[in-house]
Each structure stands twice: as C-alpha cells, then as structure tokens.
C-alpha cells in the first residue's frame, strides 16, 4: 500500500521535473535575446523550419503508398497521385517543398556569407549548417530517384558513373550505390531507406544547429554594435511575429507556385517511366543541382569534375578558416563596402552562370562561360576571403 503511494509521489516528482524542463525550454526560447536590427533575411531560418516540418509530414504520408521496386515504383506514384485521397495534394506539396527548401537554403547561406555569420564565435553554427546543407542535398537527390521516371533513372545513372570515377575505390563505391551494374530495384531500396532516414537525421541536425546558435547568440547585420546587450529584444513577441509573417509570405509564394505554376518545380520528362534502353536527349538534374552539374562537366577529366563539383560544397566548411577574423576587427570602409559587394556579386553571378552552362550541356560558348564561372566561384573562397582577412586592421583585432 505504502509502496503505491510512494510510486505515485515519485511519479508526481518526475512529472514536475519534466514540466520544469519543458517550461524552462519555452521560457528560454521566448526570452532569447535577439539583435533588434535583424532584417527579413533573418526570417529565412524560420521558413526553412516550416518547410522541413511540411516535408517530413507530407513525406511520411507519401511513404505509406510508395513501393520501392523498379517495376512498381512508377505505377505506385501514378496510383498515389491519381487515386489516393488527396494524393495529388501531398505529392505537389512535397515536390514544391523540395524546391522551396533548396531556394530558402541558398538564401540562408548567402545571408551568412554577406554578413559573415561564420565569424567567431559562431564557427560551430556555420559548420553544423554546412553539414545540414550536405545532408539536404543527399536527401534531395535520393528523393528525386524514387518516382523512377526517366530523369530519376538517368540521374541515378550519371551519379553512379560520377562516383565510379573516384580512383581505386570508385567501382566498389558505384556498386555499393547502385547495388548492381545499372540502377534498379536495389538502387531504389537504398535511395528509399536513405531518403527516409536522412529526413529524421536532418531534423536532429537542425535542432543541433539551433541549439548551437542559442549558445552563441544571433549575429546581426551591423556586426558587434548590433549585438550590444542593451540593444537586444526578447524573441517573443518581437521575433515570433516577424518570423510568422515571413513564413506566411513564403506560404503565399509556395501556394502560387504549387497551384498555378506547377511547371516551375516539376520536370516533364520525369512523367515518362524509367526506360534503361532509351537515354533521354537532355539529362538534367533538378534546378538546384544545375550549378554543380555544370561544374561536373566543365572539367575535362571525370574525376576532376567530381572533385570540383563536390569541392564547391565542401569549400563552405573552410570558410571560417579562410576568413577567420572576428566581427571586432574592422576593414577599411572601401573594402567592406565596395570590394566585398563586388566579390559577392561575382560569386552569385558565377553560381547562376555555371548553372545555366550545366543546363546547356556545357558545349560551345557555354563551355567557356562555365569554366570562367567555376573560376569566379572558387575565386571568392580562395582569393577574396583570405585577402579580406588580411585587410583587417591589426590594432582592432581581438
């Protein structure tokens, strides 16, 4: 008798402790101090969390009717889209979500580069963020293979051959990735499991990203002066309302694309079932991979292309090392205002141009454009950033 009373009391204590953690977390989130001069570029993070939640929810529902088998995958997606209750809605949410997630991620990343969000003390936030980017790309690629249309199949084929170009271990890696000589049912099983598990790994990585951010505090457009404790505002209500407004505006754009211009985020050729005997005239990845696809092609060597293409993402890990000075260090005004602006414009323009080159099969004039744009892209990281770091005035350095 007394045992049960004791157990009940213990249960109450545990409950209180749990409530305490939840309450403490909520209080921490609500009172988290944020710089007041954050622009709307800082709400993109909230948009990303909203789209990620949408992707996980719609993806789980889609997984209920999907069959990862080379003979059944395409028809299972057709049946889902044509006949499952609201199947068409779930699939268009997921397809539009993929494009919006990548677009928002590129914006988020660009904002980080513009305002040097990678500077100490936020190098950890940047590192986790780039890891999230890499994971999102893997997840997006795996997801694109699943409907098993022509582009899914030939995309997997191109990716398999690219992996196979790695010296020594390439053929083994390719066989591990494809599960055979050519894409087929084993590939679909791998991609399905990868896509499904990566989704939850991503959620965990995003929680880590936010947790590290909360440990270090938010960056601000005005650098250190914006992070002055006297100029901070609590997250709630100032930034909750701002973030919700940002998410609603994004949802509006999302709705317009999904319902009225669905052609922007879908690839017509992928509505043809995968056919190993018929190579499409234009093998082209989803738009968000085009710059990397372009870089893969501008280098004459297969392995060289792979190194450049993968390097374009992995170089982001090095950014805090290439430009290590803190926000306290000041640069001459003409450097921070004009040179940095010009360098960023070259970076963005190069990224777009090499993507266009990738779309035009990197032939003729596009080969030259693609090569120049690839140089322009890497020049930012290996040319501008180290130079920019050296411009810091030593007396101002912390």
């Amino acid at each position: 008798m007394s045992d049960t009373v004791l157990e009940q009391q213990q249960g109450k204590v545990v409950q209180q402790a749990e409530a305490g953690i939840a309450t403490r977390l909520a209080t921490h989130m609500a009172r988290f101090p944020m710089p007041r001069d954050l622009t709307f570029l800082w709400t993109v993070g909230a948009m990303l969390i909203a789209v990620l939640a949408l992707m996980v929810a719609s993806g789980l529902s889609l997984a209920l009717s999907y069959t990862p088998n080379a003979t059944l995958a395409f028809s299972s997606v057709e049946a889902l889209e044509r006949r499952a209750p609201s199947g068409w809605l779930l699939r268009s949410l997921h397809m539009t979500g993929a494009s919006f997630f990548m677009l928002a991620l590129y914006c988020h990343l660009l904002r980080g580069l513009i305002y040097r969000s990678y500077a100490p003390p936020r190098r950890g936030v940047w590192g986790v963020g780039v890891a999230v980017l890499v994971m999102v790309m893997v997840t997006a690629f795996a997801g694109y293979v699943l409907p098993w249309g022509q582009m899914s199949y030939w995309g997997a084929d191109v990716a398999g051959k690219a992996v196979g170009a790695v010296p020594l271990v390439g053929p083994t890696l390719e066989a591990m990735f494809l599960g055979g000589d050519a894409p087929g049912t084993p590939t679909l099983h791998r991609m399905f499991v990868l896509h499904f598990t990566m989704a939850f790994t991503l959620v965990a990585a995003v929680v880590l990203h936010v947790a590290v951010l909360h440990g270090r505090g938010s960056s601000s457009p005005s650098g250190l002066s914006g992070q002055n404790p006297k100029r901070l505002l609590s997250f709630h209500p100032y930034f909750t309302v701002k973030d919700v407004l940002g998410v609603v505006l994004m949802a509006l754009a999302f709705t317009l694309v999904m319902c009225f211009w669905p052609g922007l985020v879908s690839e017509a050729e992928n509505y043809r079932p995968a056919n190993p005997l018929h190579t499409p005239a234009d093998i082209e990845p989803a738009w968000y991979f085009l710059p990397f696809y372009g870089m893969l092609q501008v280098v004459p060597s297969k392995f060289g292309g792979l190194v450049v293409s993968a390097g374009a993402v992995l170089v982001l890990f090095l950014v805090p090392r290439l430009d290590p000075k803190s926000h306290a260090a000041t640069s001459p005004w003409w450097v921070s205002r004009f040179v940095a602006g010009a360098a960023l414009s070259v970076l963005v323009l190069s990224f777009i141009l090499v993507g266009l080159a990738g779309r035009h099969h990197v032939a003729g004039v596009w080969l030259t454009v693609g090569r120049l744009a690839t140089l322009g892209f890497f020049a930012y990281f290996f040319g501008f950033l180290p130079w920019h770091a050296r411009q810091a005035r030593p007396e101002a350095q912390l």
Binding site: E78, R82, R83, W88, V248, L249, L252, T255, L256, C259
Partner: protein, 273 residues
C-alpha cells in the same frame, strides 16, 4: 515486256542515283553546317491555341473532355494504351457512378492467362485500368510497322509542345511530302509536326468517326480538339482542384499576412531603432 523492264531499270537507276547524290550531299552537309537541311526536318512550331485550361486560372471544359473520351475510346484506343488511368478516374470528369459502371462495361479486360494459347476476357469494372490494346511491346511493334504506339496517360505533359502540338499533329496530315521522290519509300506518313516530319501513326481522325452523345457535329477538327482536351485532362486531372484550392488558400494567406503586418507594426511601434 522489254519496254517495261527498261522502264523498271530506269526507275531503279534514278532511285540509285538519287540515293547516291543524297548520301554524298548529306556527307557534304554534315561537314559544312548548313541550316537548310537540318531546319527542314525539325518539327514545325505548332500554332498557339486558346485552350480553356491554359494559364494559371484556366479550367477544363468537361463537356469537351467527355466528347474527347468518345474519340479516344472509338479511335485512339485501337493502338494506344492509357495504362495509369482507371475507369473510376473518369468520375472526376463529371460522370455519375452509374455512367462510370456502364462505361467500364463497354471494355473487355483480360482475366489473366487461362488455358495454354487461350486468353479469357471479362467486362470491365470501374476499378480496372484501361486495358492495353497489345499484349506486349513486341506485339505492338509487329502490328504497327515497327513502331510502338506510346502510352497516353501523361502525353500532354511529356510530349514536347504539349496540347498545341498534339492538336497540330492530329490535324497536320494531308500536305504533299516535299521529300517524296519516286523510287524512295520512307516509312510512315508525312506530318510537319512530327520528328523528322515522319510519323508511324496513320491519319487517325475523319468526319463522323464517332457519334457524340451531346449532338455536337463530329467533324475531324472538332474530334481533334476534343480528344486533345481529353488527353490534357487525363495528363493532369487534378489541375482544376489545385487551382480552386490555390485561390482559396492564397486569399486566406493574403488576409492573414495583412493582419500580421498590422500586428507586427503594433508590437514594434515602441522599439527605438
């Protein structure tokens, strides 16, 4: 007799000469990029049509979709499959469940392999998929002079040029083939909207090929428009629901965004910059 042999020989020689000239010509043309030759065989640009389903706020003309179904069932289905579509899907085109039942019953679907050499068929049920006209791609190839008629489930999306080009192709027969020279018999039919200006599909439509239930005159032009509308609908049957949803959601979000702008301005009103 001798005269006929002579004539035959002459035709043969002529043909041979033309072939030689053409191959030599092609060789030269391949070395020197001349626009003319390549351009003449690229499919012509299909005239832009005003479809009711065009644009972000378009909608399908369901009467045309239903008439187009009649054309598909009466003409296209002899060679083309519609494998991803079930009879019950047509309920979304405005048919009642009784109409869908009756429609499905007009089709014969295979019940699977029976005795060796025999295949049995039964009447279609609403949950059946549209049956394929040929048992295998090889059977289709054998019956169509080496070409496999493509599946039409998503044709308006995957066919470059979309509905405009489908309509143009269906009505683009009849002109004299400028490359048709005596002694050379290319496969297929001349059609300026086909790849290489040749298609294996014989001219499919003629006046009164079907009888429309709603009394519309079944001219070949009308049939082409209706069946194109049907194929566009079948390729994205939920486009209308999507647009309707989009209008509602977009209006709701606009309203919400206005409220949030007001709220944000009020909350931030006492914050000094």
């Amino acid at each position: 007799m001798i005269r006929r042999v002579k004539a035959d020989l002459l035709t043969c020689l002529q043909g041979f000469r033309q072939t030689v000239f053409r191959s030599v010509g092609c060789g030269i043309l391949a070395c020197v990029p001349v626009q003319g030759m390549a351009h003449s065989l690229t499919p012509e640009k299909a005239p832009v049509q005003h479809w009711s389903f065009n644009g972000p706020l378009g909608h399908y003309d369901l009467a045309a979709v239903q008439r187009g179904y009649a054309v598909f069932a009466g003409v296209c289905a002899a060679c083309h499959s519609l494998g991803a579509v079930h009879f019950s899907d047509l309920a979304a085109a405005g048919l009642s469940s009784e109409q869908v039942m009756a429609l499905a019953a007009t089709w014969k679907v295979p019940t699977g392999p029976g005795e060796p050499g025999q295949s049995t068929q039964r009447k279609g049920q609403p949950e059946d998929a549209f049956p394929a006209p040929y048992a295998s791609p090889d059977a289709a190839r054998a019956a169509n002079n080496g070409a496999v008629p493509p599946d039409l489930s998503r044709v308006a999306i995957v066919y470059p040029g979309g509905p405009d080009r489908i309509l143009a192709l269906l009505t683009g027969y009849g002109a004299a083939d400028p490359q048709d020279k005596p002694g050379i018999h290319a496969n297929g039919f001349y059609n300026p909207y086909a790849i290489g200006h040749r298609t294996a599909m014989p001219p499919p439509l003629r006046d009164n090929a079907v009888v429309y239930a709603d009394g519309t005159a079944a001219t070949a032009a009308q049939e082409a428009r209706d069946v194109t509308t049907f194929l566009a609908w079948v390729s994205s049957p939920h486009a209308d629901s999507k647009r309707r949803l989009g209008v509602g959601v977009a209006l709701y979000l606009c309203f919400l965004a206005i409220l949030l702008v007001i709220l944000k301005r009020r909350i931030w009103s006492h914050v000094a910059k």
